[in-house]
Amino acid sequence: MAHRISGFIKYLPLVLLLSISFNTLSQEISSDEAVVAEGQTLFDANCKSCHRVKSKLIGPALAGVYDRAPSMDWIKAFIRNSSAVIASGDDYANKIYEENGKTLMTSFTSFSDDQIMAIMAYVKAEAEKPDEVVAAADGGAGGGGAGVPTGYLNAILVGMVIILVLLLVILGLIINALKRYLDQKDLSEDDKEIVHSPFTIGSIMQSPGFVFLVVFLVASIAFKTAIDGLFAIGVQQGYAPKQPIAFSHEVHAGQYEIECIYCHTGAMKAKSANIPSPNICMNCHTQIRNGTITGESEIAKIVAAYENNTPIEWVRVHNLPDLAYFNHSQHVNVAGVECQTCHGPIEEMDVVRQYSLLTMGWCIDCHRKTDVNTKGNEYYDNLLELHNNKAMKVEDIGGLECAKCHY
């Protein structure tokens, strides 16, 4: 027994060597779901701004990188410090450096081996998925069956209008028929006058009922408009000012799926989410000088600001009054609220507009409805215990108190 184990150990290095030499690199990559999920998080946060799995963006498409690259160690070294690998004279590194327009990849020195392997796992899993376009098309066709189609609703409405008009015509005919019938009878002058009374617009207009109705309607509308107007003072919902640079979130966040916090660096750690400084823009735009919509003109402005060290004066879209304290990290980091919850479908906006009301009522409303994200957060342990480990609303833990936002 002992002999057999020692014999096995003796051959172990050989076995390992063989397994590395005679298999492609991709064999090491895990397909475990948890690892893939971790990889996706890392990929989205760090790689996505320059890389896609199946298409080239700033950097090459990553699908198959585990097969193309010389070794997994090479990949790790390159991710951690690409310039060093290139400088070392490595053939493959220099080749892809040339191929990609001599753009240096950002160094991710803090990545552990496991993290890099997790990213590879995600890339591999993604690369092996069937094409998404087909899947999306299937999904679209399948979704059509649910609910009442809007076409039917219109048809029903039109039908009802026709029926009502027909009813009017029928009523008119009945009135005429009745008049004729009464004319054939002997009627007193008074009765005749009633039957043939001139039913003019003027008489309707002067009828007290009509006057009351009109006055009531006008007053109500005026009142409602005034109240709405007063409530809307300072509310800038829909505010979409022209910006000094025609930056499109639709292109960056929508089309290229760049994570919000890649540019808005403060959202996870600070009160303000931060409008990115041009040096962040230049991470990509050192290479990309030709925009999707505006060509070279707008990107040139960023380059100019960067090179001349002149700050860009963006117009603030979301303005809270100074008396209200709002902290992004509390909501984005601690509570895990999606940016879109307050900022709307920002990835569809070519020009950013204020999506939400940003009034106190709007804040309070959300604090009443939203469950506190206590998952994995020791801070809330006491409170959870007191609430018998049931979900609690922000309101329940003092989220409506004045000094949470006003001080």
Partner: protein
């Protein structure tokens, strides 16, 4: 009586019944119609006004366009809205404090103490806290100037170098004049300058001189030095005129040490005993257990008497002289002797003879090596009075070719400043490196303004082998240049001062660190910590060789036991200090800890003298100007009647009477430096002869924040006892009010209309130890800066409208025997005991203010805070009326962006000043109430950090501004729901097992009480009883 009915008429029209007359006949005022301007009627005006109001409101609906401007190149370590902290050093002449500077978006907004420092141990003072506003002083020079014209640095350098070379080549004398320089690198720069221009000499002077002490130590031990003192080891402390908690030598350090000897608890029932002999009631005297009043002309004799008493016990030879009628002096001597080796005698006199005797006393007591450490000399005061005096006579005698005033202002703050100013025209080259155009700079040809210390690199050696660094916390705001760099430029040195300091540190200290890290890491660590302690070299044994008999002879010729005339005592005030920060309104509006006066220069006189002179202060601070003739000069200042002032003495603060200082303090008061004279080769801050005060009939009103002097026997506001009682019962001095119910008497907390709040997560509370609180006022300034508290100026303080969220109530004791005689109780005794009590919003759990607010603008939080919501407040002021502690402040005016408050409140009225505002705290507008928020912004930020890191809040993570500034640690703040927190342990919190989170927690600490407990408002602020270490008979 006539029955003839006569008719009278006013004139022909009435007689003729003219229709025009008849029309107006019944009207008292005849309306003749608009004649002057028929085009516009009053109605038109109203219409126009209505329209413009409507138009303006409509226009206001449209929000203004606001810009968001990110950095062009964001610095790696600056994130908008995240504060950065930089360790640095506050240096102002010889004043030193190791600090941590809080910056937001690259602007320093708050200063706190650096707890890593072995010198100041995280302590601060009001002046240190306020210095952040001096950075944004509008009076600062914007760039270099020649006479009145702006010049470029290159041109200035060229001209200065040419002139210096010319003077040096011709053998002309060059002088660099400065205050004490604590920086070894700056001294090295000056040496380089001297090498380049060999006729240069460096003269140091101090605004408040300690030259007598230096000379006394030279006479006693052979070297001119000032030793370190360690009050923490002293069981008996005797101070003769040294205000070591307020202004003497190194007050922050001493307050920390002193505070540690004053702390008592159930476990530690010992504390130091402190005797003070002084003329003015100083902050230190107010904290003393025994305080005796003496005249300045008796100081030498008191010290001689003490010397003799100790010498008798020690069996040493006694000296001639002494005074035997001073109260407590022999008792002090007995206790000093009993605690020899653990006692300390200090003296504030600048007379070398007196200081030689003080050295002799401490020598006999064996205090050297325990409470006095000659092996660790301090460098705070190196000024040489004689050198400065001879420099001024040299300038007068036209023997000096060039003078560089290195960031000092001797024309104002040297006793011979007038002479110096008049003689400066004799010097062909005068340069000032001061950062503002002060009295000296305005008389100098070249102004080469230096950075503010928060913009500068520097190193500091406050004590032998204790070092610290200064680093810039902001990019220089103006075109200024470090004074050291100017000297380097003029002496032809390449490079900047930063590299110079860094190279020096590498050279001086890196080697001695044993190479544990590389030079860059070593430098980074020093910069991060802000301080560096290196092992001190062994110092030679000091043997006392002072000639006490010669000193005694000198004393008996100078001092008199029975002087009868008035004497003038000149001292540094706690606010403006020596006057170098006189343009800082935070310091002017800081109430003096003792007099509680703000914004004014006054003289303090005793109640007895006031009666003799016929002057009185009424409750509104109304007084008369006193005309005081001293020597040949006569000045006029208002008189403030001060209990505890030695009769026959007049106290006058330095730091006022500046003429070139900026709008805040220009021409405020009188320059008292002029009364300081040279006696026995050092400056003497007392005038003992030829002082004649007379009352003028000119009225004056002082602004005082506290007019009630005593607490009128309300035992539960201040609860105090003496140590001997405390030893028997830790609850000594406590009062336990009871509420009468229909059948029994119960504690007030047990009767309540309310069920009591439940604080499920946090329950914030504060404890204030009245025994550790020295009343210094650093917390007030810290609170002002942290919470954007508006400064309101003198008149508004007179109107009782100061905005301070935190005040320190100062109570004197009364002589009254009968505590039901309120008339008597109101009057403070001649030499009263003093108690300080910081008073701020008590965050009552049953808050009276909350129940009366008609709009629910003040509400209670689930964490025990009494919240104030400014935007909800409509200004009824019901809450302030219903507050039993009177801590709510109302914004009677809009204090920001208001020309009316430009002088008093530049922080909210100038673009430069606004940079100091804390962006996390709203600037309040007119018509709303405000008050202490328990620094809710810091609580929220501490909680958020914990949440982001997915953990609980750590104790000590949330620190209020007042707590952070408190040098003695009297203020403790924390979560009493956390059983392990410091405050829970201090107050010995016991939770109610059935309702563990309710407000009704049992406070186990027998010293802890709440103010006005009987009204049952259940505050979240607890005070610990004041314990004085004195005999019971005097209690």
């Amino acid at each position: 009586m006539s029955n003839t009915k006569k008719t009278y008429w006013k004139g022909l029209p009435q007689l003729k019944n003219d229709p025009a007359f008849v029309k107006h006949a019944d009207k008292e005022f005849v309306d003749l119609g608009v004649e002057d301007d028929p085009r516009h009627s009053r109605r038109d005006f109203l219409k126009m006004m209505g329209f413009s109001v409507a138009a303006a409101s409509l226009a206001a609906c449209e929000a203004p366009i606001r810009k968001a401007i990110p950095y062009a190149h964001k610095p790696v370590d600056v994130d908008p809205s995240i504060p950065n902290y930089y360790a640095s050093s506050y240096v102002n002449g010889g004043d030193y404090c190791s600090i941590v500077v809080k910056t937001r978006e690259g602007r320093p907004i708050k200063i706190e103490g650096n707890s890593l420092s072995k010198v100041t141990n995280g302590g601060t003072s009001a002046q240190v806290e306020a210095s952040v506003l001096s950075l944004y002083d509008n009076y600062r020079l914007r760039g270099p100037k020649k006479d009145a014209d702006s010049v470029a640095w290159e041109d200035l350098d060229k001209e200065v170098i040419a002139k210096l070379s010319e003077i040096s080549a011709a053998g002309g004398q060059i002088r660099i004049v400065s205050n004490t320089i604590l920086s070894p690198s700056t001294k090295a720069v000056i040496e380089q300058f001297k090498a380049k221009y060999p006729t240069t000499e460096h003269v140091q002077y101090d605004q408040v001189s300690y030259y007598g002490m230096l000379k006394a130590n030279e006479a006693s031990y052979g070297t001119a030095f000032i030793p370190s003192y360690d009050f923490s080891k002293a069981k008996t402390i005797v101070s003769v005129g040294a205000d070591f908690l307020g202004t003497w030598l190194s007050p922050i350090e001493f307050a920390k040490q002193y505070g540690s000897t004053r702390e008592v608890s159930e476990e530690k029932r010992e504390m130091s005993r402190h005797y003070q002999f002084e003329s003015n009631l100083s902050l230190t005297g107010a904290n003393a257990d025994y305080r005796s009043m003496i005249r300045p002309s008796q100081v030498g004799l008191v010290v001689a008497q003490l010397y003799n008493s100790i010498a008798e016990k020690a069996g040493s030879a006694t000296i001639s002289g002494g005074i035997d009628k001073v109260a407590h002096l022999s008792k002090a001597a007995d206790e000093l002797w009993a605690n020899r080796g653990n006692s300390l005698v200090v003296c504030g006199s600048n007379d070398r003879a007196v200081q030689v005797l003080v050295n002799g006393i401490n020598e006999m007591l064996g205090n050297y090596g325990s409470t006095i450490m000659p092996s660790k000399p301090v460098h705070f005061r190196q000024g040489n009075d004689e050198a400065m005096a001879s420099l001024i006579s040299d300038i007068e005698g036209k023997r000096i070719g060039a003078t560089i005033f290195y960031s000092c202002n001797p024309v104002y703050d040297h006793p011979m400043g007038d002479k110096l100013g008049a003689a400066l025209k004799n010097v062909s080259l005068t340069i000032s490196t001061a950062y503002a155009e002060d009295e000296t700079a305005s008389m100098s040809t070249y102004k080469a303004p230096e950075h503010h210390y928060l913009e500068s690199w520097n190193d500091v050696e406050p004590k032998a082998s204790s070092y610290s660094l200064s680093q810039p916390a902001i990019t220089p705001i103006f075109k200024t240049r470090q004074a050291q760099e100017s000297l380097m430029k003029w002496s032809g040195l390449e490079g900047d001062y930063f590299s110079f300091v860094k190279d020096n540190w590498n050279k001086w200290f890196y080697e001695s660190q044993g190479g544990a890290m590389d030079p860059q890491s070593f430098w980074d660590k020093c910069l991060y910590d802000g301080v560096l302690e290196i092992g001190s070299a062994d110092t030679p044994a000091y043997t006392f060789a002072g000639d006490v008999n010669a000193a005694a002879a000198a004393i008996s010729s100078t001092y008199k036991a029975n002087n009868t005339g008035y004497e003038l005592v000149i001292f540094e005030s706690y606010g403006v200090g020596n006057g170098s920060q006189a343009n800082n309104p935070l310091l002017h509006e800081l109430p003096d800890p003792i007099t509680k006066a703000v914004w004014d220069h006054y003289v303090t006189i005793s109640q007895k003298d006031a009666a003799a002179l016929g002057v009185d202060n009424d409750a509104e601070g109304r007084t008369q100007l006193l005309s005081i003739a001293v020597g040949g000069k006569t000045i006029k200042l208002p008189a403030l009647v001060q209990p505890g002032q030695m009769p026959g003495t007049i106290g006058m603060a330095l730091g006022y009477g500046r003429t070139k200082v900026g709008i805040v303090a220009e021409n405020l008061g009188v320059n008292a430096y002029g009364f300081v004279s040279m006696v026995n080769g050092s400056l003497n801050y007392n005038v003992t002869a030829g002082v004649t005060p007379t009352v003028t009939d000119e009225a004056f009103q002082l602004a005082q924040t506290q007019i009630h002097q005593t607490y009128m026997g309300r035992g539960n506001v201040i609860q105090e006892s003496v140590l001997s009682e405390f030893k028997k019962d830790a609850g000594a001095g406590r009062e336990y009010p009871k509420i009468t119910k229909w059948e029994e008497k119960v504690a007030p907390g047990e009767v309540s209309l309310w069920k009591g709040h439940e604080y499920n997560n946090h329950h914030w509370a504060m404890s204030i130890d009245l025994n550790s609180c020295t009343g210094c006022g650093a917390c007030i300034v810290a609170c002002n800066v942290e919470n954007n508290v508006a400064l309101v100026g003198k008149q508004e303080v007179i109107n009782r409208r100061e905005m301070h969220w935190l005040r320190i109530d100062r109570y004197y004791s009364s002589d009254a025997e009968d505590i039901s005689d309120y008339e008597q109780l109101e009057h403070a005794s001649e030499n009263p005991e003093v108690v300080f009590q910081p008073m701020l919003c008590q965050h009552c759990n049953n808050a009276p203010c909350e129940t009366v607010c008609p709009v629910a603008a003040t509400t209670h939080s689930t964490e025990g805070l009494n919240q104030m919501t400014y935007n909800r407040c409509i200004g009824t002021r019901y809450c302030a009326n219903n507050c039993p502690y009177k801590v709510r402040r109302f914004n009677w005016f809009k204090y920001h962006d208001n020309q009316q408050f430009y002088q008093a409140n530049p922080a909210m009225n100038t673009d430069l000043g606004r940079m100091v505002l804390n962006p996390d705290v709203t600037v309040r507008s007119r018509g709303v109430m405000e008050k202490c928020s328990f620094c809710v912004q810091r609580i929220q930020s501490g909680k958020l950090t914990a949440k982001r890191e997915r953990r609980k809040v750590k104790d000590g993570e949330v620190v209020t501004a007042c707590q952070a500034s408190c040098t003695t640690g009297a203020i403790v703040f924390g979560d009493i729901n956390d059983a392990d927190s410091k405050i829970s342990k201090l107050l010995q919190i016991e939770r109610n097992p059935s309702r563990p989170n309710s407000v009704d927690k049992k406070i186990g600490n027998p010293r802890a009480y709440t103010v006005l407990e009987e009204i049952g408002v259940k505050p979240n602020i607890f005070y610990l009883t004041k314990i004085k270490n004195k005999e019971k008979s005097n209690a």
